[in-house]
Amino acid sequence: MKQIAVVATNTFREAVRDRVLYNLIVFALLLVGASLLVGVVSIGIERLVLINLGLTAIWLFGIVIAIFIGIGLVSKEIEKRTLYTVLSRPVRRWQFVFGKYCGLLGTLAVNTSCMAVGFFVALFCLTRHFQRADAWLLVAIYFVVLQFAIVTALALLFSSFSTSLESAVYAFLLFVIGTFSEDLRSFAQAAHGAVRVVATMAAYLVPNLAALNVILPVAHGQPLPGSLVLYNTLYAGLYSAAAIAGAVLILERRDLK
């Protein structure tokens, strides 16, 4: 456990000292600010526009950070041989993988918190008050973090057997397919024969990120069922665990040439 915490802390420190990360955060905050501006000029739907644009900015930039840093979590350590000196210590490979994951997820959670504060400040500036339905915005942000957990785990999985560039391509493709997974499910239901079998399998294999995206309903002030929070949390936890287990299995057998 101690080793996992040490690796996680170092991963967090690496991300925090990466200038690119700050550029992304500043850009995301600017976008939240811009949505405030757009909200002001959108007569009658200011609040809707601000929430939509603000949460989408947090979601999109978090995903970019998760993929951008996640793809290098293991492959960069192998390419630069920093892993050699770590694994010559009393550190198991699974501890290293899990430590890297926790470190990046922690970074994303802190970043999202910062951007969420910026978002709520912008919302307050526009509306001058918070309403009861705004609590669902926190749930939407929580679901965004669950998406980060899945995408980071997938980036880590790809990073354990391919180069950074290949990992980026795989992770981005899965993210896009996962975002439109509801369409894939609809297609599977409408298809017949072998196509239906393949499409159904694909629909269950790719991450169901669509179910974790509730930006639109909360922007319209719709309440979310409590069970959704439970199911989404379980789903994200299990999916991430499976991806991390895959990364561990691959790395445990891999020769670090």
């Binding site: 101690k2 080793q3 040490v6 690796v7 170092n10 420190r13 690496e14 000292r17 990466d18 630069k80 041989r81 920093t82 892993l83 050699y84 000196t85 770590v86 694994l87 010559s88 210590r89 009393p90 550190v91 198991r92 057998r253 020769d255 670090l256 040439k257």
Partner: protein, 329 residues
């Protein structure tokens, strides 16, 4: 108990598009290194030196055979707390300072918090990085990075230190500093196993050396014995060039610097050579038996057939077969 023992340790890789061809990177290696020894692992590039070190560090898995460090199987987690490793051309987290880097590795090695600060400062001073300890590694020169690498390998005070080409790419001053560090480790009773292709360093530092070529162990020798061993040749130095043709006729290698002539010839030709010098009235400056150098030994071993435990302190490793063989993986 030996510090390092390998028994028929083997590594081969599958290569080619279909991964059907097999390339043997290390042929069955059996060798033992005693505690407190400085052991040089010599060989040209591609000989299998780094492969051996990676096998011992658990970075790659053996295709056959087994290895023990300090009497424990190499996959035993307790081993890792007792060893330090400097990889070839190391790269470290360049966003960290040297002090943070050592803190990281000391924590990974479970160095107690109350001990950590003292050890880190001591090691930084020892490798000459005390003043640059707060500077990020991305601003370090190659020599400084190598010293930081050695510092991370010894910060937890391991009993066995593995160094892969520690002098590679260093300038003469840097090489000297690394040599001094290895010498200090020896004085502290640590076992040092280092690979190199710089023979002068091995000759100056090692108690014993092993020569590896094309993945095969070609020989193991005590360095002190090498310097005592005669090559069957003598070196003559004299003044005056008149005797050169006569000495050359005896099959000697001649090197002339002005009036000073140096010749190396077979010991059995010594009497004839001295007669020739006397006959020409040359003034003999020195007569020295030629000793075997590590370089000569190294070159001779490269040409020789592989050895299987000959001249080694070979022991049968106790315990069940290693679970890290290719079959288990």
């Amino acid at each position: 108990m030996s510090a390092i023992e390998t028994s028929a340790l083997t590594k081969s890789y599958r290569t080619g598009f279909w991964r059907m061809a097999e390339k043997c990177a290390l042929q069955p290696l059996t060798l033992a290194v005693e505690e407190g020894e400085v052991f040089g692992y010599l060989g040209p590039n591609g000989a299998g030196k780094s492969t051996t070190l990676k096998l011992l560090m658990g970075l790659i898995f053996p295709s056959g055979g087994r290895a023990k460090i300090l009497g424990m199987e190499i996959d035993d987690p307790r081993v890792k707390a007792q060893i330090g490793f400097l990889p070839e051309q190391p790269y470290f987290y360049d966003y960290l300072t040297a002090r943070e880097l050592l803190e990281y590795y000391a924590r990974l090695s479970s160095v107690p918090a109350r001990e950590r600060r003292r050890r880190i400062e001591a090691v930084l001073s020892r490798v000459g990085l005390a003043e640059a300890a707060g500077v990020q590694l991305r601003k370090y020169s190659k020599g400084m990075l190598q010293r930081a690498g050695i510092a991370q390998a010894i910060v937890h005070e391991p009993r066995v230190v593995f160094l892969d080409e520690p002098m590679s790419g260093l300038d003469p001053i840097g090489r000297r500093e690394v040599r001094d560090l290895i010498q200090q480790l020896k004085e502290e009773g640590k076992t040092v196993f280092f690979s190199t292709h710089i023979l002068a360093d091995a000759e100056a530092l090692c108690d014993r050396v092993a020569v590896l070529h094309r993945g095969q162990l070609r020989g193991v020798e005590v360095v002190a014995d090498l310097s005592r061993r005669m090559s069957g040749k003598v070196e003559l130095v004299w003044q005056g060039s008149a005797a050169v043709p006569a000495i050359q006729a005896l099959g000697a290698e001649i090197h002339a610097t002005g009036e000073t002539i140096r010749a190396v010839l077979a010991e059995r030709q010594l009497d004839a050579a001295l007669d020739a010098l006397r006959g020409q009235g040359a003034r003999l400056t020195s007569l020295t038996p030629v000793r075997v150098t590590l370089e000569e030994y190294f070159l001779e071993r490269l040409e020789s057939p592989p050895v299987r435990g000959a001249g080694l302190e070979v022991q049968e490793l106790a315990g069940p077969p290693s679970s890290r063989g290719e079959g288990a993986r």
